[in-house]
């Protein structure tokens, strides 16, 4: 019994693992960002861990003291707000690095996207209040001629990634997600086996269509960086991520170059 107590004591007072390098990222990057980070680690040896949530939630957390020095948002609205709250010594910076695309997924029992929208029971989108992809999806649906019918069918999820979960589990037959959540085959093949399987199942279960860009306000992906003594490596990653060599990655991930 005494040995057990000793083990407990050691365990309790053990230090936390040295806080690793963290970046906050919008949920639509949930599948592809780990791939980019793995590539970065392979090239430089620096390990960085991502924390995902909707852009709105992450910006709230950063405002309330969450320890992120780099934040990849899906809407400059949030990074600009953070910039306004920044003090001079933090040397905050923001920028736009790409433009996201909306993807419409519908069950393959429907022939066309229009039919799917008209006949489906539920349409899954991310919560427009704090998820940029949800906001864009809502704007798209609102312009649709059937808006009055569609309105009642909308199911909101907490963030962009959970839309896939609703589609995968059959809780909605139509969903609007970021292209980065259903990336090009080249990137899909790099994902862990389990995720690949789920994405393949989704693709067998339904069809995807890119929503024409003029039907919704642009989804501009922006980054926010503030200088923090503890994590000088993060800035290096940011520069690396924005370099032209990585442009192919972002294209495969479903981003259009921002002009």
């Amino acid at each position: 019994m005494r040995g057990l107590k000793l083990v407990f004591a050691c365990f309790i007072f053990s230090c936390n693992a040295a806080a690793s390098q963290l970046i906050a990222a919008a949920s639509d990057l949930r599948l592809v960002l780990p791939l980019l980070l793995a590539q970065y680690q392979a090239e430089t040896g620096v390990s960085i861990q991502p924390v995902f949530a909707s852009s709105g939630k992450l910006s709230q957390q950063i405002q309330h003291g969450a320890p992120f020095s780099l934040f990849l948002a899906a809407d400059p609205l949030y990074t600009n707000t953070l910039l306004r709250h920044c003090s001079a010594e933090q040397q905050c910076q923001t920028g736009v690095y790409g433009q996201g695309q909306l993807l419409l997924w519908y069950h393959n029992r429907f022939q066309t996207a229009e039919q799917a929208l008209a006949q489906s029971q539920h349409i899954a989108i991310a919560d427009p209040n704090h998820a940029p992809y949800g906001k864009a999806a809502l704007a798209y649906l609102q312009q649709h001629q059937l808006w009055s019918q569609l309105q009642a069918k909308i199911r909101r999820t907490d963030n962009a990634a959970l839309v896939l979960h609703l589609l995968r589990t059959g809780q909605a037959e139509v969903g609007i997600v970021g292209h980065a959540l259903l990336p090009e085959t080249r990137l899909q093949q790099l994902l862990p086996q389990a995720q690949q399987q789920q994405l393949q199942l989704l693709q067998q279960l339904g069809r995807t269509e890119v929503v024409p860009a003029h039907l919704y306000p642009p989804i501009r992906h922006s980054w926010f960086y503030r200088t923090e003594q503890k994590h000088p490596e993060i800035k290096a990653f940011l520069d690396w991520m924005l370099a032209p060599e990585q442009q192919q990655f972002w294209t495969d991930a479903g981003f259009r170059e921002h002009n």
């Binding site: 407990f8 365990f11 309790i12 936390n16 693992a17 806080a19 690793s20 963290l22 949920s27 949930r30 599948l31 861990q49 924390v51 995902f52 949530a53 957390q61 405002q63 309330h64 003291g65 969450a66 320890p67 963030n159 990634a161 959970l162 896939l164 979960h165 995968r168 862990p192 389990a194 995720q195 789920q198 994405l199």
Partner: protein
Amino acid sequence: MLYPAEWQALLLTVKLALLSSFFLLLLTAPLAWWLSRGHSTTRNAINALLTLPLVLPPTVLGFYLVLLLSPDSWFSQLLRLAGIEALAFRFEGLVLASMLYSLPFVVQPLQQGFAQIAQELLDQNRALGANSWQLMAQLIWPLSRPALFSAFILSFAHTLGEFGIVLMIGGNIPGQTQLLSMLIYDQVESLNYARAHLLSGLLLLFSFSVLFWLYQQQRGQQQRGQQQRSQK
């Protein structure tokens, strides 16, 4: 079988449950004792206050904790005066939150256990000459051990399953606030169903084993007591 991140979340979860239960017992035992010594309007009001976390949704508590723990709040400024960094999105903040959240799960069993110790018995032994320390050591401590034990179990188990508050104040930061429950949510979001199944199964098995072990211990204690009594 487990990835380092998953080990980390598991250990962090257990550590949080142990620490918050321990401090909670330490802090609430005197209060529960006072509450168990009779009834009055003040006591009822405090009792109602302490039971609030049981009925309030975690979001209410989470919302106010976010405000309280954020670096600009008066609480954080007080802490800064004492040389402590703001607790938001840190393990220490989670300990505080879990303690608040599990409060009724500790106070209720303690209070009930303490109420079993009759005031007459305490008075009798005081009249026999025992001072407060002697009463504590010979009477109160041994008689309230089962209550302390069940309060600890309840708080521990409750913290293992905590999610709502962590979601609001934790920030899901690996090594600081990424508990097992958060990691499972994370895996579901990234369509990693296999890992989510594994971690959920693990949490289930672990919680069951801990509870089972603790109940076995308790029964062992009771049996030992009975054996002692029936030896003669």
